[in-house]
């Protein structure tokens, strides 16, 4: 059995990483909640964010963490035409039509990445991305802490947006009863479009963080998507704070799984957990009566 330093370091790192995972899943979650859409291109939006962060750094020389708002706006804007030209016309055509359309978007994006940026594996190389932080017996990557802080801040901001603003009211109302919301004057299409863009913007930021903490390439989207889905199911579809807690729980449990079974089992632990939650708590494991 590894010593206590390793165990605690692993768990701390897992929790911090979980926070970042939560951010990467946030967009998927709110889009699921509001539009009932499994956005199969979500992972590719994350990759767009990662490339955006990388090229922002290369062309401006400004640290991508400072450029995060720019990345967020860029990816968010990119999502607007996707919604209005591709998704909106399919409203009322059932879940498959929109889902398949987003899959098509996903393969188009992936192809575009290869053509534009080559298939190389990239990473946003910053010093802070590789510096360890040591607190007593615990050592964990500094980037995890930075990413965690940014993610949690952003998730709380989105939570505030959803729970305390007029837009958030419209969003929640549209999610549960679009027709009633519309008759009350809510422009449901606009709300959906902005939600979709918000989801993409969050994915953009998450992608930059992932790109700094790890590595990415044109086809990284698939793995991002599956991880995000696990977080979303754990936290409950469309539940912002649930997503944060789902992410942290997944990060921690994966770390424990990795520690006890080997790193290869981390994702397996995640997926098994995912199916178990689906089987026993289909609304997410912290869903209480938010009916």
């Amino acid at each position: 059995m590894p010593d206590i330093g390793i165990i605690s370091s692993t768990i701390v790192a897992g929790v911090l990483l979980g926070g970042i995972l939560a951010l990467t899943a946030l967009g998927l979650s709110i889009v699921l909640g509001v539009m009932r859409l499994v956005n199969l291109a979500h992972g590719d939006f994350l990759v767009v964010g990662a490339y955006a962060g990388l090229f922002f750094l290369q062309f401006t020389g400004i640290d991508p963490l400072i450029g995060l708002p720019v990345v967020a706006v860029f990816v968010g804007m990119l999502a607007l035409p996707v919604y209005s030209f591709l998704l909106a016309p399919l409203a009322g055509r059932g879940a498959e039509a929109q889902m398949m359309t987003m899959f098509a978007v996903s393969i188009i994006l992936e192809n575009a990445f290869v053509l534009a940026f080559s298939a190389d594996t990239r990473s946003i190389a910053r010093d802070y991305a590789t510096v360890p932080l040591t607190l007593g017996p615990i050592t964990f990557p500094l980037i995890y802490l930075i990413g965690f802080a940014i993610s949690v801040t952003l998730i709380l901001a989105v939570h505030w947006l959803v729970s305390a603003t007029a837009f958030g009211r419209d969003l929640r109302a549209s999610a549960v009863d679009a027709q009633a919301a519309a008759t009350l004057g809510v422009d449901v299409k606009r709300v959906q479009m902005l939600t979709f863009a918000l989801g993409a913007a969050c994915a953009g930021v998450g992608g930059t963080l992932m790109g700094a903490a790890f590595q990415f390439g044109p086809s990284s989207g698939g793995a991002y998507l599956l991880n995000s889905l696990a977080v979303v199911v754990l936290g409950g579809l469309g539940n912002v704070i649930g997503t944060l807690i789902g992410g942290i729980a997944l990060g921690a449990l994966q770390s424990i799984g990795g520690l006890t079974l080997g790193d290869g089992y981390r994702d397996l632990v995640g997926m098994a957990l995912f199916l178990l939650v689906l089987a026993f708590r289909p609304d997410g494991f912290l869903a209480k009566g938010r009916t």
Binding site: R169, D177, A181, T183, L184, G185, V188
Partner: protein, 534 residues
């Protein structure tokens, strides 16, 4: 009578959150008898059918079929045990032929039945239920009565011991009801029990040996049908409430709207409403607030409204009446843009808004207090209100909020709670308050009294009277005829998607045809022109 009951219900309770839909119902159905259940809308009648049929899981209590406890069995097993039901709004399998609809039941209980035997049985059933000529048509192609017949035939194909009929008479004209009653009598035999939940009193009177009256989920009274229908208390519950009975008096005139207001200082109250009522526009606009010109509308293939003309002047309160399925809610939805008319034009303030999106119509000052309240469960009471205050700045929104809270103080107390955590009446207040938050010029109230206690209805209608006083344009869609007529300046009665009657409330209330349309013409025989409509 000494035989044990075929179906025995004991202490049956169904709760939905805080709402008790069925409260300790006891009931016994004996083979060879037909039992009726009546009661106002929302009394829990359909829930009772759901509970017995297995679609609804009981919170407490037991249901025994032939001595066997079936209360925990799912619907499919109840069907196999011998319980057949119909739906209030028929749910035939729309894309399957009539014959196939019956095959579903046949093959599910006897998958290996010989094809020839099954065909013979189907033929017999179709002949008995008067569907032989439409055997190859799809469920979708059938008109309402045929759909109801199909539902009965489908239930009978299960060879049931207990048949549950949910509002089979609703939406039918008298001659059709006569046919229906014959049919019901024909399906009764010594080993079968029938339970009829019904609004149409005639069906109950002519079919049921015993009748039970439900009110607010509880059994109000139970006994031989003749006794029950003669009971004053029942008449009160069934035909309306509170002031309604008064309207049945003497000349049948509706009381003036003001008499329904039970507030101490109406003028002061009206003042309170100022933030919620749009000022009558300064320019003396000549166009009516709302105009339908030849509007047809419906859902997919089904045309519900058949070329309606309607004009609502500013400040007018109109009532839209009609039986279930007549098209009242479709009319409301057409106004608010949820349904786009397939023909005709919808004009608001003289402007053609056909095809506009609901939110665009809302922006014109049209508020729609939707049927079924449609409170957002994920929003608090206050948020449910604020969401309708589109484009209002914080201060204005605050003012409106205060005005709604003044109107319905209970909402102020519950403002941080989840919208659906309140009782039905409170939710309805919230729905009305929410509609007002937009400071609308025209409000559509769709079935706001559905399932509410008389005292609550009084309160709601007091509020509506105040709105009328404040010169707001009101469209009131109601099952409770008396209340609606008491409020309205003008009334329209819908039947089969067209206006069968229209005129001032007094005239409508006095018109015998109204009673026919609602209660299926139990007493009146002068139905010629009306049946011709259907």
């Amino acid at each position: 009578m000494d035989r044990p009951p075929l179906l025995e219900v004991k202490g049956l309770v169904k709760r939905y959150g805080g709402l008790v839909a069925n409260d300790r119902i006891d009931m016994q159905l004996r083979a060879g008898t037909i039992t009726g259940v009546i009661g106002p809308n929302g009394a829990g009648k359909s829930t009772l059918i759901g509970l017995i049929g297995g679609a609804v899981v009981p919170s407490e209590g037991s249901i025994r079929l032939d001595g066997r406890d079936v209360s925990r069995l799912p619907a499919s097993e109840r069907a196999r045990a011998g319980v057949g039901r119909t739906y209030q709004i028929p749910r035939p399998f729309l894309d399957m032929s009539v014959e196939e609809n019956l095959e579903v039941a046949q093959y599910s209980i006897a998958p290996f039945i010989r094809a020839t035997v099954a065909r013979e049985e189907r033929r017999a059933l179709l002949a008995r239920t008067g569907l032989a000529d439409v055997a190859t048509l799809t469920g979708r192609a059938l008109p309402l009565l045929r759909r109801k017949r199909l539902e009965i035939a489908r239930a009978l194909a299960l060879k049931p011991r207990v048949v549950l009929l949910d509002e089979v008479g609703a939406g039918l004209v008298d001659s059709e009801i006569t046919e229906l009653i014959e049919l019901i009598h024909s399906i009764l035999d010594a080993r079968t029990a029938i339970l009829i939940v019904e609004h149409v009193i005639r069906v109950v009177r002519e079919c049921c040996s015993r009748t039970m009256v439900l009110n607010f989920g509880k059994t109000l009274i139970e006994g031989p049908t003749a006794d029950i229908l003669g009971n004053d208390q029942v008449a009160a519950v069934y035909l309306g409430t509170g002031g309604a009975r008064e309207s049945q008096t003497a000349d049948g005139t509706a009381p003036a709207a003001d008499s329904a207001i039970h507030v101490s200082a109406p003028e002061a109250e009206a003042q309170v409403l100022a933030p919620l009522t749009a000022p009558a526009s300064a320019e003396a606009a000549t166009a009516p607030a709302l105009q339908f010109s030849g509007i047809s509308a419906g859902y997919g293939q089904a045309r519900v409204l058949q070329g309606i003309d309607l004009t609502v002047e500013r400040g007018q309160a109109i009532a839209i009446l009609g039986a279930n399925g007549a098209g009242k809610t479709t009319l409301a939805r057409t106004i608010s843009g949820v349904i786009t008319p397939t023909a005709g034009a919808l004009l608001i303030d003289g402007q053609d808004v056909s095809g506009w999106q609901p939110h665009q119509i809302a922006a014109l000052g049209i508020a729609h207090c939707m049927e079924g309240r449609r409170i957002f469960p994920t929003l608090s009471v206050q948020e449910n209100l604020l969401i309708a205050a589109r484009g209002a700045d914080a201060l204005t929104a605050r003012e409106r909020l205060e005005a709604v809270y003044d109107l319905f103080p209970i909402l102020a107390e519950r403002k941080t709670q989840g919208g659906t955590s309140m009782s039905g009446g409170q939710q309805q207040m919230l729905a009305i308050g929410r509609a007002l938050m937009a400071r609308p010029r025209l409000v559509i109230f769709d079935e706001i009294s559905l399932g509410l206690a008389p005292i609550v209805m009084d309160k709601l209608y007091d509020a509506l009277a105040l709105l009328k006083k404040a010169r707001m344009t009101l469209i009131v869609i109601e099952q409770d005829v008396d209340r609606a007529l008491a409020l309205a300046d003008h009334a329209y009665v819908l039947e089969h998607g067209m206006f069968a009657l229209s005129g001032p409330p007094r005239q409508i209330a006095a018109d015998p045809r109204l009673r026919h349309i609602y209660i299926g013409g139990a007493e009146d025989a002068s139905m010629g022109e009306l049946t011709s409509i259907g």
